[in-house]
Symmetry: C2
Subunit: 77 residues, 2 copies
Amino acid sequence: MSSEIVHNRISMLRAERGISRKELAAALEVHYQTVGYLERGEYHPSLFLALRIAAFFEVPVEVVFSLAPFPRLGSGG
Amino acid sequence: MSSEIVHNRISMLRAERGISRKELAAALEVHYQTVGYLERGEYHPSLFLALRIAAFFEVPVEVVFSLAPFPRLGSGG
DNA sequence: CTCAGATGTAGTACATGTACTACATTCCAA
DNA sequence: TTGGAATGTAGTACATGTACTACATCTGAG
């Protein structure tokens, strides 16, 4: 349980909403640096935080987090 | 992020499949006691483990884990 | 340049998730 | 009762998630 990673779309979802990390952090009631760490993939959120992130964006957990890499956007999608 | 809890249906899903904790633990590649701790709510799984549990049962994460208590079964479906 | 906000990097302190071991209890079979 | 499997409880050791602070870079406005 150490070298495994979970991919996430937090920054994309946040950009879609047009909110800053500080705003997201405030909504989630976590430190703003925590959001930064998560977006950069420096560590994974707890399940509790993951559920709250998905709830905040009103999407299933699997839309935000995945065991497999998310496909790239940007080129015609 | 300390007094909050995440409810789970691991024991129900496992019972539906008719498998023991040891079998589930082996499938998830975690210690069998870890499954016991999770079922008893003694602590929460990591997001990585939560995603793998949901994948194992072939259901969305929200079916296994929830911020709100799951409704009781047993009395009329 | 100055001023302000968003973001990235570095480090410390503490709480919690997981592995692992040992032993007690409960349930099922003979 | 004996024997085995599943489960519950207790404790140690270590890795990781989160808070929090300080400082640097980048971008936009004047």
